[in-house]
């Protein structure tokens, strides 16, 4: 008698929770008593990836630190939609100062806590891609090089969405924004421009750098938890689709995050002390086209007057990522 060996399978490893799993195996988001650090009533657009990402991160961090978290927020969507007078959606100590100084303000908070001997309280700074890779980069780099005990989280929606969708240093090539119009011979944001901040973070040799998306909650939560095990500067870069800026349907926010990863266009990996330690393998590889097509910011690449040549260049970026970040399980695509 022969028996086919059992393979592990459980919905719980991909879904938020699963009634069949123990509490420990479920995500923090499945906990009915989760903190809801960012609570209802906020004014984020329908299907906002950033609102989702922020709650995921902070709830996890709260759980990981027994509720001892203080957050510093850069100016941007997250700040604006969460704290318009007279209402705040935060349920944790939270401070907003300016657009470009979240990292430095967080350093100040962390330094004060250190001086007060309250090192059990941990500090998270957060901002969008503009506040992080562009205007806030100086203070962020300063925070990193000083190795201040701050976890900086960038919610990357790849443009200045709060001000009405303008190009940032994180806007991908060919993407349409209101300062990178889909006009002229090279429509959208230029190729060979922009920066990928996680690599710059790694160059600071800080203890922990990771990327994640709102599509893989378990991975995201594991990274936040892991980040909280380190002392010193840490950086988490989370891709958060923006229905407004990307021109996508409000219910496709998670699908698009997933497609970004499965196409290789957005690499999910982690690094310690400047060295990549692991990368999330692609599970069901798709061409970049599947990721790009549902987004109106890439609409100029498709259709009658489409630009297959540009799609091909974007595919090459994905292919390069797959190579560089080792995104395909060895032997999986022979």
């Amino acid at each position: 008698m022969t028996v086919t060996p059992l393979k592990f399978y459980q919905v719980g490893s991909f879904a938020v929770g699963n009634r069949l799993l123990t509490d420990e195996e479920r995500s923090e988001q499945s906990n009915p008593n989760r903190v809801n650090a960012l609570t209802s009533g906020h004014r984020a657009c329908q299907g906002c990836g950033e609102a989702l990402g922020a709650r995921y991160v902070l709830d996890t961090a709260m759980a990981a630190t027994d509720g001892k978290i203080m957050a510093v927020n850069a100016t941007g969507c997250l700040e604006v939609f969460s704290t318009p007078y007279p209402e705040t959606s935060w349920r944790i100590p939270w401070l907003h100062s300016l657009f470009g100084n979240a990292a430095a303000v967080a350093s100040g908070v962390a330094t004060a806590l250190k001086a007060q001997g309250k090192t059990d309280i941990r500090v998270i700074a957060q901002g969008g891609d503009g506040g992080t890779v562009d205007i806030g980069f100086g203070p962020l780099s300063g925070m990193w090089e000083r190795n201040d005990d701050v976890l900086y989280v960038c919610y990357d929606n790849e443009a200045y969405m709060n001000t009405g969708v303008q190009r940032s240093g994180a806007t991908p090539p060919a993407a349409r924004t209101n300062t990178s119009h889909a006009s002229g011979p090279e429509p959208g944001a230029h190729f060979n421009q922009g920066k990928f901040l996680p690599l710059i973070a790694m160059a600071h040799h800080i203890p922990y750098v990771a990327t994640a998306t709102v599509a893989d909650l378990h991975d995201l939560e594991a990274k936040v938890k892991k980040a909280m095990t380190f002392r010193g500067a840490r950086y988490l870069h989370i891709l958060v689709p923006c229905p407004l800026g990307w021109g996508s349907r409000s219910d496709e926010t998670i699908m698009l995050s997933r497609a970004a990863v499965e196409s290789g266009f957005f690499p999910v990996f982690e690094a310690e002390h400047g060295v990549m330690t692991s990368s999330k393998k692609i599970r069901r590889r798709i061409p970049v086209e599947e990721y790009l097509k549902p987004q109106k910011r890439y609409a100029h690449l498709f259709g009658a007057n489409g630009r297959p040549d540009i799609v091909e260049r974007l595919q090459r970026i994905a292919d390069h990522n797959i190579e560089q970040y080792d995104l395909v399980e060895k032997g999986a695509e022979e």
Binding site: P93, A104, G117
Partner: protein, 393 residues
Amino acid sequence: MRKQIEGSQAIAQSVATCRPGVICAYPISPQTHIVEALDDLVRRGRIEHCEFLNVESEFGAMSVAIGASAAGSRVYTATASQGLLYMVEAVYNASGLGLPIVMTVANRAIGAPINIWNDHTDAMSQRDSGWIQLYAQDNQAAADLHIFAFRLAERVSMPVMVCMDGFVLTHAMEQIDVPEQEQADAFLTPFVPRQKLDVDNPVSIGAMVGPEAFTEVRWLAHHKQLEALAAIPGLAEEFAGVFGRRAAGPNDHLGLVTDYYTEGAETVVVALGATIGTLEDVIDELREAGTSIGVLGITSYRPFPSAVIRERLQHAKRVIVLERAFAVGIGGVVDADIRMSLMGLDIAQNTVVAGLGGRAITRASLRDIIAKSIAGDVEPLTFLDLNEGMIPA
């Protein structure tokens, strides 16, 4: 303890007695000696439970100060000139958030052309920032005003700039009564923040406020300054009681101004900062020669003590405002504030802009311009020792 000491060192030691929790700085001349000294004091453990942070810019420095203050620590930083301008966004933010940060501004000119020397253009650019601005006449006052500043800042929960002339004071060796720890402890009450980040009592600090309440918020900022104006005289008395000297100097009046023979004087020169010492010497000479003249020094430029100034100047025939900065395109900065304070009184007034970018303000030049002013032989706006001959046609 009285000792011969450089101004910057005195400031550092004075700040140290205030038991700050966080000190952060980005180096810029002529502020450097102060923060260098503080770094050393922190490293040596001379300031307990204090962290010193080197930051990547002045914008970072003020931002760190904001974060640390919001987290409930007593925070100090120092800057000057371009540095102050580089942090302006955060300067306004600190006052907007009502964080009682104390910052030394080692006054220096603003470029271009780049100029490292002393004038008041930097601090004057921040007169509307919502910060309290105290100007020191000498290093004793500078040292004392820092302790006074912490008490005032925390009393009204607003940040305070202590302005002291760069190089002229920061780098000058003088005999100073360096504040004693016991004295500082007796004067400063423990820091109880008005609001702070607290995991047990969480709040959201830094909300977005729209048209529906923004005017009220700004009105309250003004109200805070008036609160400070009302509090300063009492605190000045308290300071004198603890230290046995007036924080702003021996000629202090209510902690708001310094008064040198203004009573009954026909002419009063109004000035801020270290120039006042030179002016007092010139006034001594003029008074000996029979001129009815005095000097009114402004310690608290923001809040501006209009009523006290009006009271001091109401009987004068002429007021000369000696300024170390000016509003390009119109004239004096302080001059305008004085005019507003004296509105309705029949007093002649002219502005003398002097000592820009470190140019020496000599007694001779002062004597000359005062004489011309008294004679009515000046334009409303005069630049002291302006060498028109060197300006290309």
